[in-house]
Symmetry: C2
Subunit: 322 residues, 2 copies
Amino acid sequence: MGCVAGIDIGGTNIKCIMMSEADEVLIQKTVDTPYRRPVSEVVDLIEEVICRMLKECGQRHEELLGIGLGIPGPTNFKTGIAYAVPFLGWNNVNICEMLEERFHVPVSCDNDANLNALGEMYFGAGKGRRNIILLTLGTGLGCGIIVDGRILRGANNVAAEAGHMVIEGDGELCACGKRGCFESYCSATALVRYAKGFVRQYQDSALLRYAGGEAEKIDGKMIYRGCLEGDEASLKTRDIFVEKLSVGLVNMINLLNPECIILSGGVSGMGDMLLGPLKKSVENLLMHKVQECDMIIGKLYTMAGVMGACRMVKENGIKRES
Amino acid sequence: MGCVAGIDIGGTNIKCIMMSEADEVLIQKTVDTPYRRPVSEVVDLIEEVICRMLKECGQRHEELLGIGLGIPGPTNFKTGIAYAVPFLGWNNVNICEMLEERFHVPVSCDNDANLNALGEMYFGAGKGRRNIILLTLGTGLGCGIIVDGRILRGANNVAAEAGHMVIEGDGELCACGKRGCFESYCSATALVRYAKGFVRQYQDSALLRYAGGEAEKIDGKMIYRGCLEGDEASLKTRDIFVEKLSVGLVNMINLLNPECIILSGGVSGMGDMLLGPLKKSVENLLMHKVQECDMIIGKLYTMAGVMGACRMVKENGIKRES
C-alpha cells in the first residue's frame, strides 16, 4: 500500500508524518529546525527523516506517492516557491523542486496555516464543514481560510494574512511596521504583554506568585491558571484579549460569513475560559442573526499541519504508475 | 431569440434591463421605488415594467428565459429570500417566488453589490480577472467579492459585508451600533462630513463659495471641483478619505489577495484625484510585493448591477423548452 509524507517546518522543529492511502497516520517524527543553515542542509535533513520513516514503518521507497510541505511564510502553492522565511534566511526558495529531485515523486507546499485549516477540516474540528476560518494563536497569529471546501489562496497565493488587518487606528506598533495590526493584539505574545501591564496595577496578583515575583517570567499557562483561580489580573488579561480577538473575528465574519471558526495554537489551550466570553462578545458585535457561526477549539493540535500537508498531496495528485 | 431581465432595486429607483442571449442590452427602464408599499405592489410594478420592455423590444413572453434581481440588503441567494430591506419594510420576503408565479421562468436574486461585482467582471473593468473586490462608495459602502471567478457568498450568503469591518477602535459611531466601522469612514456621507469639518478650519475655502456660504449644502461634486482647483479644505478632505480607505482596502487585500480592486459609486467619480494617492497609500501599507494589485474605477456605473443580474440568471440556468 502506498503512503504520503507530510512535513511541517516550524520555527523550533520540523514535524514529519507518514500517512497511508487510507488516511491512517503510520508514524511521526520531530527533529530540530536547523537554524540559518543552507537550504540544501534542510533538504538533506528532510530526506533523511523521510527515509527513516519509510524504513521504520516497513514501506518501500516505491511506495512513497508524494510529499506535502507546510512553510512558515508566504508561499506560492502553484510554483512551489517559498517567498520569504526570515528565520531560515530563505528568499524565493524552491524547496519542492529540490525534494522532487531526491524522491522523484510530486512535492507540493503551502503556507502552514492553510494546511492547518485543511487538516482540521478533513480530520479534526471542522469535519463536515466547508466554510472555515482557522486562527493559530501562538507566538504570532496565523490564519487559514476555507471557502466552499477549498483553501482560499487569492491571486498570488498569499491570502489569509489576517494578522495584518488593522483593527485600531494608530494602535500598537507591529513587527510589519504598521500600527494596530490584529496580530499585535491577539497572539500569545500580546496575551503576556497584557498580563505584565495588569500586574503593575494588581501587585498582589497570583500571576506574580506563580512567576516567583518576576513579571518577566509570566507565561500563557500562568494566565490560564490565574483565570481558573479567579485572579483579577488574569481575568482582566483574558477580557482584553477577548475584546480584541472578537473585533478581528467580526471583521472576518463580515467579509467571509464562515460556518465555523476554529481556534488553535497555544492560547487556544484556555478552552472554554476563552471561548465562553468570546462567543458572547462576537454575538454582540454582529449585525444579523444569519452571520452567527460556531466557534470551536482545534482538535489536532500540532498534528493539524502535517495531516493537512498529506491531504494536500492527495488533492494535488500523487504519483501514479507509468 | 430569448432574453433575460435584470432588475436592480435601489433606494431611489428600480433599474430594469432586458439582455439578449448574446449579452446585448436590448432596452433599459428606470422607475421610482415605491416607498414602504406592500411587497405585492413592488412585484406588480416589476411585472408591468418587464411586460413593457418585452413589448417595446419586440420579444414574445415565451422568449423571456429568466429574471435576475439585485436586492439592497442581505439576501439568501439559494432560497430567494431577502432577509431585510429596511427602507422597503421587507423582512424575510421571498420576492423570487412571487415573480416566478407571474412569469413561470426561473427567478434568482442576490445582494446588489455582489451583482455589481459580477457585472464589472463579465462586462466592465474586471474583464479577464477572476479575483476581484468591488467597493461601491455611495451613501453607504457596498462590497462584492469574486474568488476564482465566483461570487464569495459564505455559509449563509451574507459574505462581503466590508462596511462593518472595524478599522478604528472606539471610532465613529456607525448606523449598525458599533464604533469604527469602515462604512462610517468611507462613504459619500463620510466624505461630506470631513469637508464640513475642514471648512470650519478653512473659512476661505472654495467649498463654502460653491455652497453659497452654507456648509450644510456641500456635496461630493463640490469637493471634487475643489480638489481640481487646489482648494486646501478639499484636498485635506480627499487625503483623510484616502487614508481611511487604504486601511480598509489593505485589510481586505491581506485577507483575500485579489488581482484587482474596482471602485464604483458616487465618490469613485473623483477618478485619478482619488486613485493616485490611494495607490501610493495602499502600497505603503502592504508587507509583500506579491500582495500588490490593480486599483481601477468601475466602467459600468449604474448598469453594473442590472448587467450582473442578467449574468447571474445565465449562470444559474435559464428556462429550457420542456
